[in-house]
Amino acid sequence: MNDTFNLLDPDFLQQARAMRVVARRVAPAGRWAEHRSRDRGQGMEFRDYRPYSPGDELKSIDWNVYQRLGRFVVRLFEEMEDLPIYLMPDLSRSMWQEDPPRALTAMQVAIAFASIGLDQHDRVGLLPFAQDLNTTIRPTSGRGRLSLIAESLTRAAETARSNPQGTNLATALSKLRGLRLRDGLLIIISDFFDPHGIEVMTSELKRTRHRPLLVSIGRPTDRDPNLQGDVRVRDCETGDMQDVSITNTVMEQYRAAYDAHFQSLRDFAHSRQGSFLLLDHESDVMKQLASLFEGGSYVA
């Protein structure tokens, strides 16, 4: 296995296995797993009655009700199905700009969630993106597939690092919609520095039906850059230049723009019953992820 980035660190995975993702509800027509489904069928736990209709299995008729009421009703049981988890790590140029790169943190987060999902028999899809969505890795399940996912992620990362591209989350999300995947947990792991702006990002996010979990990979200097005097900032992805005379006022406006940007992401996530996590690239990843898993579980 080509594991250049050492994603399958045993200690790291051991910590991940202590966490669980619990879905409030999963979309119907999934595989059997550990999550309650909106489907009514072969489960163990009784949920409801409904009138009999032609085509229903006779064994599902509750004969006791028929004896008392003279009507045919069918007993419904809760179906336990899987929660599809779609991992979208950002592998754009900005994620590779620093040392160590933020992409490595993003990959660790992705592997952690992949490990959690595969352990609870969920289908895990790996969809790295930069300028576009990489759809070559299909969703898969089974505990033994973690190494396969790690290998695929490593291969995608090396390709992205050797041929860095800009960020276009909107295009990636649009393409994701086109895949018509079953509703699930969409985990976007990125710095969210999309040059197209927050409005384009949130607009496209709102069109997806998946429950969002937005993990932002950042560092303190993102909000408080250590710049003084007259500087010409150059965007590492677009090459755009911007002359800036650093003053207190400009810095305040910068921080206000930064805060507004991420507040929009946070508001969006909450509006969709999702979550937003600002993860410090320079701190321990697993400890920060643990803040999502209250009591060891993350309710999606």
Binding site: F193, P195, G197, R234, V250, E252, A256
Partner: protein, 527 residues
């Protein structure tokens, strides 16, 4: 447009240099340090927000706006050069005594003058020095520092006094704009003259601090010897610091050779040295090791005259009675006779009454001066013309040397001229003019014109006065007054903040507001 501190060329050059420097600074400002960042998204948003606030966002920073308006208005007012319209229209002139030959005293006076001027309204004060002529050291509106730049610290003692300066300056006073003249130092002003001044002219005096440790002369001059000896002069001097002036410490040298002469007390506390030889030596007075002053004694050797035959006896006796003249038979300076070789030539009545041959290149231009110098104005020309039946005229020509011709009949009883008071004066002046021996300026003192001042005596160069015969009269402070000195009230003391112009106040307020703006900006209180 004129400029106070610089010439027009220097000012324009300075503007050009400033423009170039500012252009370079402007260029330096756009040399941004390039920094690669993950995203310029927030920088663009920040700058967009900043620009929007300045130009298009709704107005919401009234205090900041007001502060900037006040600062900009103050700077604009400074640029416009504001001037107070004074409540008191009195103009002030601080008058320096330009005859001061002592550099230390002059420096003290100059400091007193600038201190006083600094306390007066800037547009209503000036500093004028009364030397050989009136010189403005500080004009209204000029920065006070210009005084020292313009002050000629090379002393130019003048004998023309300060009354003429007061006369000249008094013409500036009027009923609507009174004039206050603040005289620096102890220069004497005649009480009678002071009382004759118009009421709109107020004279103040600014007292010089007493000089307790340095002996100074107040006056130094020569006069004819009381003994009547033509070849001797008396020297008179006066001290301005009698408390430290010890006559026993006075030493006298002539041409650096010590002479033993008795110093006699004279009137008014002055001192007299009698019968010093008038041989053109340089007299120096020392008080201990300190030189008090120096004076070039006149050269009063005898004028050697010789007479041709036929000279009227009255004229001969008149000349020989003059102690300055001495008859000689050989190598005379002045030959008196009727021949064409005579310097003092007696001519027939059919020629011009007075013919003057001067070495001056343009004697016609100096005619009035010559007539005055030869005392021809004292002749009763009308009576002389009536008696002679001829026109009494004066002809002036140019020649290699001085010659003088006049009617021989003037010195005969025919016209009765030899009995007039003008005759001996004319003869004495003529002999002295021919021998180039001008009358002695017996005394020079400040506060009064020279007794027999001529333009040549009024031209003062450095510490020397050049007499008309080319001799040099070195002078020191000429402050001896023979008139009743006036008691002049002291110049009123200014207030602590007096003399600070509106420009200074505006500049201070603008500086304070700029500092306030900077502090507020640094603390983030100002957008």
């Amino acid at each position: 447009m004129t400029f106070t501190l610089f010439s027009t060329l220097a000012t324009l050059g300075g503007i050009a240099l400033l423009a170039i420097a500012l252009a370079l600074l402007q260029r330096l400002r756009v040399q941004h340090r390039e920094v690669e960042v993950l995203s310029t998204l927030f920088w663009r948003a920040a700058l967009k927000e900043t620009r929007a606030r300045v130009f298009v966002r709704r107005f919401r920073h009234w205090p900041a706006w007001l502060l900037l308006v006040v600062i900009a208005s103050l700077l604009w007012l400074l640029l416009a050069g504001p001037r107070w319209q004074p409540l008191n229209p009195t103009r002030h002139i601080v008058l320096l005594d330009g005859s001061i030959a002592n550099k230390t005293t002059l420096a003290i006076d100059l400091e007193l003058a600038t201190t006083k001027a600094a306390s007066l309204p800037i547009m209503q004060r000036e500093i004028v020095t009364a030397g050989p002529h009136l010189q403005t050291l500080l004009a209204p509106g000029d920065p006070i520092e210009l005084t020292n730049l313009r002050a000629n610290l090379e002393t130019t003692p003048a004998s023309t006094g300060i009354h003429w300066a007061l006369e000249t300056l008094s013409s500036r006073a009027s009923a609507t704009t009174p004039l206050a003249i603040h005289i620096i130092g102890d220069v004497a002003v005649d009480q009678a003259y002071l009382e004759s001044l118009p009421p709109e002219l107020i004279i103040y005096r600014i007292q010089r601090p007493p000089s307790d440790d340095q002996a100074l002369l107040r006056a130094l001059g020569v006069s004819n010897a009381k003994s009547g000896n033509w070849q001797m002069v008396d020297v008179l001097f006066a001290s301005s610091t009698p408390q430290v002036f010890d006559v026993q410490q006075i030493s006298i040298t002539v041409d650096d050779l010590p002479i033993q002469a008795e110093i006699l007390p004279a009137d008014n506390g002055d001192f007299l040295i009698e019968d010093l030889p008038a041989q053109g030596g340089v007299l120096k007075l020392r008080h201990g090791e300190e030189q008090l002053g120096s004076l070039t004694l006149p050269h009063r050797d005898a004028i050697r005259v010789s007479f041709e035959t036929g000279v009227p006896n009255d004229l001969r006796e008149l000349i020989l009675l003059d102690p300055a003249c001495q008859e000689t038979q050989s190598d005379p300076e002045i030959l008196i006779g009727e021949s064409e070789f005579a310097d003092f030539r007696l001519t027939p009545d059919d020629q011009s009454a007075f013919q003057i041959e001067s070495e001056l290149p343009d004697p016609q231009a100096a005619l009035a001066k010559l007539i005055d110098e030869l005392a021809l104005t004292q002749i009763d020309a009308t009576a002389l013309a009536e008696r002679s039946g001829r026109l009494v005229d004066v002809q002036v020509t140019s020649g290699e040397e001085r010659k003088l011709s006049m009617w021989k009949t003037l010195f005969t009883p025919a016209f009765n001229f030899q009995q007039s008071r003008a005759c001996p004066i004319l003869v004495a002046r003529s002999i002295r003019w021919l021998a180039n021996r001008p009358p002695l300026v017996s005394w020079a003192e400040q506060g009064m014109r020279l007794p027999d001042a001529r333009p040549a005596f009024d031209r003062v160069i450095a510490q020397t006065t050049t007499t008309s015969d080319g001799r040099t009269l070195q002078v020191t402070r000429l402050t001896r007054s023979i008139t009743e000195p006036a008691e002049i009230i002291d110049s009123p003391n200014p207030g602590l903040l007096a003399g600070i112009g509106i420009t200074t106040w505006l500049g201070l307020v603008a500086m304070f507001l700029l500092l306030t703006e900077w502090v507020l900006y640094q603390r983030g209180r100002l957008p």
